[in-house]
């Protein structure tokens, strides 16, 4: 062997025992046990759903541990408790958390950790030192089991059914209230053109400005009575705009000319049809209590608002109603002058 060749082969021969002793993934055959030496990947299955089981994560000082998550992380709902914030360097992002304890944990020392996923699932972890016979986690992959998916699906179904049931209950309560309400009974009759069957009489009629561009023609008719405390406003709307108009969004607000405080007035509303298509005509009746609308001295005004349901709740129509719109002539005083 020539001199240069001998020089090169010597370091190679020295490397052979080292390569023979190199670690095989998962099972180091001949190195001494070192609990701080991380394993490659540990898979943990979340079986029972959120908060049902605390998963141990084995950590060691200065050794980074990656926690892989089954979904995106919700950063604000994730953290370490028990004063562990100062004992760990934590990096969070996407579907991973990187934990590095700043120092070794003592035997039996534990730090609770909560991981909240973007879908609302909360996973409870316990950060602790690897027990005897176990290794520090280099990477832990948390995965949902089929059972969890089933439980989560059932839970979502239950939530959806509960919401529906609540909605039905509210609708039923509203329907019962409306069935027993005299104001809704009046509104029903007026919107069907049977005001002559009620105790109310025609008090006034005028056009009200609907929209600046004149795309809505609105005629207002009001009804009142000596005998009843209720008053009614009937609006007939011709929708000449290219947008539909939802009459069921009608709201009445009381405002005092002397105070700035707005106040919503309870009204019984009936619309026919509820949504007026472009080019169509609709009627809406609002029956309310005169005193609730205009105050005990009948010296206030109310604002009538209709909001759009298809353009983010913008104001579609607005009208001002005053006590004079519902005036009842004082026949006892002998005055006949309506103008």
């Amino acid at each position: 062997m020539t001199e240069p060749c001998r020089t090169l082969s010597l370091p190679l021969l020295m490397l052979v025992p080292l390569l023979a002793n190199a670690e095989e993934p998962g099972e180091p055959p001949c190195w001494p046990e070192n609990p701080n030496r991380p394993r490659v990947v540990r898979y943990l299955w979340i079986d029972r759903g959120p908060m049902d089981k605390v998963v141990d994560i084995y950590v060691a000082g200065g050794v980074p541990t990656i926690i892989g998550l089954p979904a995106k992380l919700h950063s604000r709902g994730t953290g370490i408790g028990g004063g562990g914030q100062r004992r760990f360097d934590v990096l969070k992002g996407g579907r991973q958390i990187l934990l590095t304890p700043t120092q070794d944990l003592a035997d039996g020392e534990r730090f609770p950790m909560w991981v909240t996923l973007a879908d609302g699932m909360v996973i409870s972890l316990s950060l602790t030192r690897a027990p005897e016979g176990q290794r520090t986690d280099g990477e832990v992959q948390l995965q949902r089991s089929a059972e969890w998916a089933e439980v989560a699906g059932l839970r979502a179904q239950l939530v959806s059914m509960t919401e529906k049931a609540k909605g039905f209950e509210l609708s039923l309560q509203q329907a019962l209230r409306e069935r027993e309400s005299q104001q809704y009974a009046l509104a029903d009759l007026i919107v069907r053109g049977h005001v002559d069957l009620t105790s109310l009489a025609w008090a006034a009629g005028r056009e009200i400005p609907g929209t600046v561009d004149g795309s809505r023609m609105i005629s207002l008719r009001t009804y009142a009575s000596h005998r009843a405390k209720e008053i009614a406003a009937l609006l007939k709307v011709e929708n000449r705009s290219p947008r539909p108009l939802d009459l069921s969004t009608g709201r009445v607000y009381r405002f005092s000319t002397s105070a700035a405080a707005d106040d919503r007035v309870p009204v019984a509303l009936r619309a026919q049809p509820a949504i007026v298509p472009p080019g169509g005509t609709g009627h809406v009746v609002l029956v309310m209590d005169r005193e609730q609308a205009f105050g005990p001295d009948s010296d206030e005004k109310v604002l009538l608002h209709f909001l759009s349901t298809h353009q983010g709740g913008s104001l579609e129509l607005s009208a001002e109603l005053a006590p004079k719109d519902f005036a009842i002539p004082d026949t006892s005083a002998g005055s006949r002058e309506p103008f």
């Binding site: 008090a203 023609m217 005509t281 309506p338």
Partner: protein, 164 residues
């Protein structure tokens, strides 16, 4: 028949005497008007929205003149269908513009006697801004028609048109 009623609509009201304030005096309804309107379920006090001038249906103020007028209803009124032409006469000389309707033409072309008045605000008649003699401006092209049992004169609140 149609021509006859149209002629009547133009002529009826021509000779109605005026009150001192310039508005027309009380007047009877045309013959058979009440019975005809009752056949459509209409009773005194029933009311509906109209365009005052069939040729001016845009929103906004309107100038009206003494003389015949053709209005149009907006929608059905009891059993009377919508889009009925109303023929009558305008008086602008009084404190309010008075419009009396003597006949109506149904969408199928049939002409019937009619007895109704225009209303706006809180009373019969329409508030006006005085103009040249024989004309007046009203604030809206919309008004209301109210079925009458007779053509009434002077200030009449809508309240008084209520059903018995």
């Amino acid at each position: 028949m149609l021509r006859a009623w149209a002629f009547l609509a133009l002529c009826v009201g021509c000779g109605v005497p005026l009150r001192p304030d310039g508005s027309p005096v009380e007047e009877k309804c045309p013959d058979r008007a009440r019975e005809t309107m009752e056949s459509f379920g209409l009773r005194p006090g029933d009311h509906e929205t109209i365009y005052i001038d069939v040729n001016r249906q845009e929103r906004g103020p309107l100038v009206v003149y003494d003389g015949p007028i053709e209005s149009v209803t907006w929608e059905p009124m009891k059993n009377l269908p919508g889009n009925v032409r109303l023929y009558g006469r305008i008086w602008t000389g009084g404190p309010r513009v008075v419009i009396r309707y003597y006949s109506a033409r149904l969408p199928d072309g049939k002409v019937i006697p009619f007895c109704a008045m225009a209303a706006y605000g809180t009373g019969l008649g329409i508030p006006k801004t005085p103009g040249r003699p024989g004309s007046a401006a009203v604030e809206s092209s919309l008004a209301f028609v109210s079925v009458m049992d007779r053509f009434r004169a002077g200030p009449v609140p809508l309240w008084d048109l209520r059903q018995p």
